[in-house]
C-alpha cells in the first residue's frame, strides 16, 4: 500500500519555456521573413564553420601505407611521406604521386585554402571566375593543358582570384567565418559588460548612477577611430587585441536601455515583495530584473552583431584591422578597390556583406516584433 502511495502520480512539470517565452517563440516563427532569414543565416554560418572541409589545400583524410592520417588538422613533416621538406605541399606533384602510389586521399571540394597561391592560374593578377572562361583558357598554364588531370573543377576558381592569386571563394568562406565569430564575441562581451554596468546603475541609482552616467558621456565623446589608429600603430592588431579595443567603446551601447529597464523595474511591486522576503540585491537583479532587461538586450543583439561585423569590415578595408593576410570581408573589399578591372572582387564582397546584413536585420526585426509586449500579450 505504502509503495503505491510513494509513487508520485505523473505531474505536470513546469514547461521548459515560460508561457511568455512560448508566445514570443510562436510570434517569431510566425514572422516568415525572420524565420527563414534565421535558417539561412544558420546554414551559412554552419557552412563557414566547416570551411576547412570545403576549401583547403590539404586533404581531409589520407591513407598512406595503410595508415590513416588527417593532414587538415595535423601538421605532418614531409619525411612521413618519403620527402625531406618541413611542411609537405599536398598540392604539389611530389605529394600527389606519393599518395597515389601508397594509398588514397579524400580532398575537400575546393583545393585552395585562404592563403594558397595558385601557380596555375590563367593569367597574372586577379583572374576572372573560371566559368567565365573557356576550358582552354582555364587550363592554359597547366603542363598538359586541357588534358591535365589537375585541371578539374576542384581546382577551378568559382569566384575568380584576387591580386595575389588567392581563391576568392576560399577567402570568402574564411572571411565570413571570422567576421561572424568576431561579431558574436564582441556582441556577447559588450552585452555582458553593458548589462552589468546598466544593471548596477539602474538598480542602485543615486550618486553612483549620476557619476557613472557622466563618465559614460565623457567616454563616448572620445573619437574611437582615432584612438584605434593610435593603438594599432603601437600594438600589432590580432583578433583578440582588436576585440579588446572595440569592446572598450561598444559596451556603452546597451547601458542606456538596461539602466532604464532596471530603473523602471526596481519600483515594481514584485521587487518590493522580494525585498520584503529578504532576497539579496544580487539575486533580485539576477532573477527578477534581468529577465525584463533581457527583452531590450535581445532585441538589440542582432543589430549590435551586424554593427560589429560592419566595424570589423571597415577597419579591415582601411588596413587597421586584422593582421595582413587574414581573410576578411574588409580585405576582399580592399582587393576590389585595388583591382577595379576585376569587378568580381568588389561584387563578391558587396553581395556577401549585403546578404549577411540583410539576414541579420530581418532576424533582428523579427526578434524585436516577437518581444513587443503588445504582441506577446495579445
Amino acid at each position: 500500500m505504502s509503495a503505491a502511495t510513494d509513487i508520485a502520480p505523473a505531474q505536470p512539470r513546469r514547461p521548459f519555456l515560460s508561457p511568455i517565452n512560448q508566445r514570443r517563440w510562436a510570434n517569431f516563427r510566425a514572422n516568415r521573413r525572420g524565420w527563414w532569414s534565421l535558417w539561412l543565416f544558420l546554414a551559412f554560418f554552419t557552412l563557414t564553420l566547416g570551411s576547412e572541409f570545403i576549401a583547403n589545400d590539404r586533404p581531409i583524410v589520407v591513407s598512406y601505407e595503410g595508415e590513416l592520417l588527417f593532414p587538415a588538422f595535423v601538421d605532418y613533416p614531409e619525411a612521413r611521406f618519403g620527402g625531406f621538406l618541413g611542411t609537405p605541399d599536398y598540392r604539389g606533384d611530389f605529394m600527389e604521386e606519393q599518395i597515389a602510389a601508397n594509398g588514397w586521399a579524400i580532398w575537400p571540394p575546393i583545393h585552395f585554402s585562404y592563403g594558397t597561391v595558385d601557380g596555375y592560374q590563367p593569367g597574372s593578377g586577379a583572374t576572372p571566375p573560371s566559368w567565365l572562361l573557356s576550358r582552354d583558357e582555364v587550363c592554359s598554364r597547366y603542363p598538359l593543358g586541357v588534358d591535365d588531370p589537375d585541371c578539374s573543377w576542384s581546382n577551378f576558381h568559382w569566384l575568380g582570384t584576387d591580386g595575389e592569386a588567392h581563391d576568392v571563394l576560399a577567402r570568402l568562406l574564411y572571411g565570413v567565418r571570422i567576421s561572424i565569430l568576431f561579431g558574436f564575441t564582441l556582441t556577447i562581451l559588450s552585452s555582458v559588460v553593458g548589462l552589468f554596468a546598466g544593471a548596477v546603475q539602474g538598480y542602485f541609482g543615486g550618486w553612483l548612477d549620476l557619476i557613472a552616467q557622466r563618465l559614460i558621456e565623457i567616454w563616448t565623446a572620445i573619437p574611437a577611430l582615432y584612438l584605434l589608429l593610435i593603438i594599432s600603430s603601437v600594438i600589432a592588431p590580432s583578433f583578440w587585441v582588436l576585440l579588446g579595443i572595440l569592446l572598450l567603446f561598444s559596451w556603452v551601447s546597451l547601458v542606456g536601455i538596461v539602466r532604464a529597464e532596471f530603473l523602471r523595474g526596481r519600483n515594481f511591486e514584485y521587487i518590493a515583495a522580494a525585498r520584503a522576503l529578504g532576497v539579496s540585491n544580487m539575486t533580485i537583479m539576477w532573477r527578477h530584473l534581468l529577465p525584463n532587461a533581457m527583452v531590450a538586450t535581445l532585441t538589440f543583439m542582432p543589430f549590435i552583431l551586424s554593427g560589429s561585423v560592419v566595424t570589423l569590415t571597415s577597419l579591415d578595408l582601411l588596413g587597421l584591422g586584422l593582421e595582413p593576410g587574414t581573410p576578411s570581408l574588409g580585405d576582399l573589399l580592399f582587393q576590389g578597390k585595388e583591382n577595379l578591372q576585376a569587378p568580381w572582387l568588389g561584387l563578391t564582397g558587396f553581395f556577401a556583406i549585403a546578404i549577411l546584413m540583410t539576414l541579420l536585420v530581418f532576424i533582428g526585426e523579427a526578434v524585436r516584433d516577437a518581444f513587443d509586449p503588445r504582441k506577446a500579450f495579445a
Binding site: P19, E269, Y270, L277, S280
Partner: protein, 543 residues
C-alpha cells in the same frame, strides 16, 4: 400613467471578439429622465455594452442586434450620423479622470472643443458657456481654472471637468462608466450627489455602469444585473434588492464583507511598537537641487500592536497609510523608532534585517503587479524559503509550498502554473501563500482586497481572518475601504496627510466617531444616500 417610449432601446446585443462572446443577447430600455444601473463584476461585459452604444469598441469587435436611440439604429448608422449623436445627444464619462483628459490642453480648450464641434460656439460665446458649465459642476472660482491643465487639478476636480464636457451640449442620455471608482470615498459621494442633481435639473437619462451595489442603491431607478455577458435580472432597485430572484444577484448582495474580527487578548504582549515615525520626501528645486521643503508622507506616527490583533489603518489616497506600512518593514527609509518582536529595526543594516524578514511579511494591493510574470507559482512561493531556510532540500521545499497553497485554498497542482493563468482573487491567494510559507508573526496587508471584485473581496477577508485564527497572526490592515476594515480590525487608526486623526478601539470608532473627518469618511462609505453632512447621526451599519 402611460410609459413613455424608451429613449434608448438595446435589443439582443451580442458582441464578439473573435470566438469570445463579450455579451450575449443583451436587451434593455432606458426611458427619458431615468437612471438605469448596469451592475456586474469585472469581465461581466458591462463596460463593453456601454462602449457599444456609441460604437467606441475596437475594430475587432463584431456587433449584432439593435441599438435604437430615438428610433434610429446606431448599429447600422453611418459614421457621420454617429458623430452627430456622440457628445451631442449621448455623451460619456469614463472611469479614469487621470487619463481621459488630454494632458497638453487647458480645461477651457477641451470643453470648448465639444462646444465648437456640435454647436459652432467660438471665442467669447464658448468661454461664457464653459464658465457656466464649470460653475454647474461645482468647480470653485471657475474663471481662474480656465487656463489650468489637467495635472493642476485633483482627481475629483478632473472628474467634474469630464462631467462638464459631457454635459456641454445637454445630452439626452449620459453614459457613466464607473465614474467614481478611481476616486476617494468622500469625493465619490460628492460626485454622485452632483450627478443626481444635474440629472434632475436637466432631465436627462443616465446609464450608470458600476460594480458597487452601494452606489446603485443611491442613484439608480432601475437596475440590470450582468454576469458573463448576460443580463440575469432587471427591475426597479428597491424591490430587486429586497427580494432578488436570480442566484447571482443574491450572491452579489451577500458578497459584502461580513463578520466581525476575532476577539483579541488585551493582555497579549506588544510585538510592534513605533514611536515618532517620519517619512519625509525632500522637494528639490533649482540648479543645485537644494531642498526647499518636504512632502511629509508620514509625519510623526506612534502606534503599537499586540500579538494576535489586527490594527486597521484607514485613510484616503495620499494619506500616507501605505508609506507607513512600507516604512515599518524598512522597505523605504524613515526616521523614528521601530521595535518589532523586541528588535530595534532602524539601526540594522540591510543585511542584518534579513533574519527578521521571515517574521515580517507583506501582502500588496495589486495581485497583478506583485507576482513576477516570469516565475511559476512554486518559484514565487519557494523564493523566500530559499533565502531563510537554505538547508531545505527540493522535496522539503516542495512540500512546504504545497502546504502553503492548501492553506490558502489552492490545489497543489497550481504550483507549476504561471501567475497569468489565475484570476485576481487566486493571485492574491498566491501572494498570501508567499507571505505565509515563512510562518511570519506579523503581516502588513496593504490594501489586499482593493483590486478585487466584491464577491472575491469577501472570500479573501474570510481567508485572512481564518488564517489569523489558525496561526495566531498579527495584522496591520491598510485600506481605504471601511467595510473591509470593519470585518477585520480590532483597533483602528484614521490617517490624513501623514498624521493620525483618530485612533482607538475599532468597534467604538465605527459606532461613534469622534472627529469630523472620520464622520465624513463613515458617512461616505456606509450611507451614500445622505450627502456627507456633519450633524447627521453616524450610521450604524447592519451586519
Amino acid at each position: 400613467m402611460t410609459t413613455p417610449a424608451p429613449l434608448l432601446s438595446v435589443r439582443d446585443l451580442t458582441i464578439a471578439f473573435g470566438a469570445n462572446l463579450a455579451t450575449r443577447d443583451v436587451s434593455f430600455d432606458i426611458a427619458p429622465g431615468e437612471t438605469l444601473a448596469l451592475v456586474g463584476e469585472s469581465g461581466s461585459g458591462k463596460s463593453v455594452t456601454a462602449l457599444s452604444v456609441l460604437k467606441l469598441l475596437p475594430p475587432t469587435a463584431q456587433l449584432s442586434g439593435q441599438i435604437l436611440f430615438k428610433g434610429q439604429d446606431l448599429v447600422t448608422a453611418p459614421p457621420a450620423e454617429l458623430r452627430a449623436v456622440r457628445g451631442n445627444d449621448i455623451s460619456m464619462i469614463f472611469q479614469e479622470p487621470m487619463s481621459s483628459l488630454n494632458p497638453v490642453h487647458t480645461i477651457e480648450r477641451q470643453i470648448g472643443e465639444v462646444l465648437a464641434i456640435h454647436r459652432g460656439l467660438r471665442a467669447s460665446a464658448a468661454r461664457a458657456r464653459t464658465l457656466e458649465l464649470l460653475d454647474a459642476v461645482g468647480i470653485a472660482d471657475p474663471k481662474s481654472r480656465l487656463a489650468a491643465f489637467p495635472h493642476q487639478l485633483s482627481g475629483g476636480q478632473r472628474q467634474r471637468v469630464m462631467i462638464a464636457m459631457a454635459l456641454a451640449n445637454e445630452p439626452d442620455l449620459l453614459i457613466a462608466d464607473e465614474p467614481t471608482t478611481a476616486l476617494d470615498v468622500t469625493v465619490q459621494a460628492q460626485i454622485l450627489v452632483l450627478l443626481k442633481d444635474l440629472q434632475q435639473r436637466l432631465g436627462m437619462a443616465m446609464l450608470f455602469i458600476t460594480h458597487d451595489l452601494g452606489i446603485v442603491k443611491t442613484i439608480a431607478d432601475r437596475v440590470c444585473v450582468m454576469t458573463e455577458g448576460q443580463i440575469v435580472e432587471t427591475g426597479p432597485v428597491v424591490p430587486l434588492f429586497a427580494a432578488p430572484q436570480h442566484a447571482y444577484t443574491r450572491h452579489l448582495l451577500a458578497a459584502e464583507p461580513r463578520g466581525t474580527p476575532p476577539v483579541s487578548d488585551p493582555a497579549a504582549p506588544t510585538i510592534v511598537e513605533v514611536t515618532d515615525l517620519k517619512v519625509w520626501f525632500p522637494i528639490k528645486r533649482g540648479l543645485l537641487r537644494r531642498t526647499t521643503g518636504h512632502i511629509r508622507a508620514v509625519d510623526g506616527i506612534d502606534l503599537s500592536i499586540r500579538r494576535g490583533e489586527t490594527l486597521g489603518v484607514v485613510g484616503e489616497s495620499g494619506s500616507g497609510k501605505s508609506t507607513l506600512g512600507y516604512a515599518l518593514l524598512r522597505l523605504i527609509p524613515s526616521t523614528g523608532r521601530i521595535v518589532v518582536l523586541g528588535n530595534e529595526l532602524q539601526s540594522r543594516s540591510w543585511k542584518a534585517m534579513r533574519p527578521l524578514r521571515a517574521d515580517l511579511q507583506i501582502v500588496f494591493q495589486d495581485p497583478f503587479g506583485s507576482l513576477s510574470p516570469r516565475m511559476s507559482v512554486d518559484q514565487i512561493i519557494g523564493e523566500g524559503l530559499a533565502v531563510h531556510q537554505p538547508r531545505l532540500n527540493a522535496a522539503e521545499r516542495d512540500a512546504r509550498v504545497v502546504t502553503a497553497l492548501e492553506e490558502v485554498g489552492l490545489p497543489p497542482a497550481a504550483r507549476f502554473r504561471y501567475p497569468h493563468e489565475f484570476s485576481g482573487g487566486q493571485r492574491q491567494r498566491i501572494a498570501i501563500a508567499r507571505a505565509l510559507v515563512l510562518e511570519p508573526e506579523f503581516v502588513v496587508l496593504d490594501e489586499p482586497t482593493s483590486a478585487l471584485d466584491v464577491s472575491i473581496q469577501a472570500q479573501v477577508v474570510d481567508l485572512l481572518r481564518d488564517l489569523q485564527q489558525r496561526h495566531g497572526l498579527t495584522y496591520m490592515f491598510i485600506s481605504h475601504d471601511l467595510k473591509v476594515v470593519r470585518a477585520l480590525a480590532n483597533r483602528l487608526i484614521v490617517m490624513r496627510d501623514g498624521k493620525i486623526v483618530e485612533q482607538g478601539d475599532a468597534a467604538a470608532i465605527f459606532a461613534a466617531p469622534q472627529q469630523d473627518y472620520t464622520r465624513t469618511l463613515m458617512a461616505a462609505a456606509f450611507n451614500l444616500a445622505a450627502p456627507p453632512i456633519r450633524d447627521q447621526a453616524p450610521p450604524v451599519a447592519p451586519s
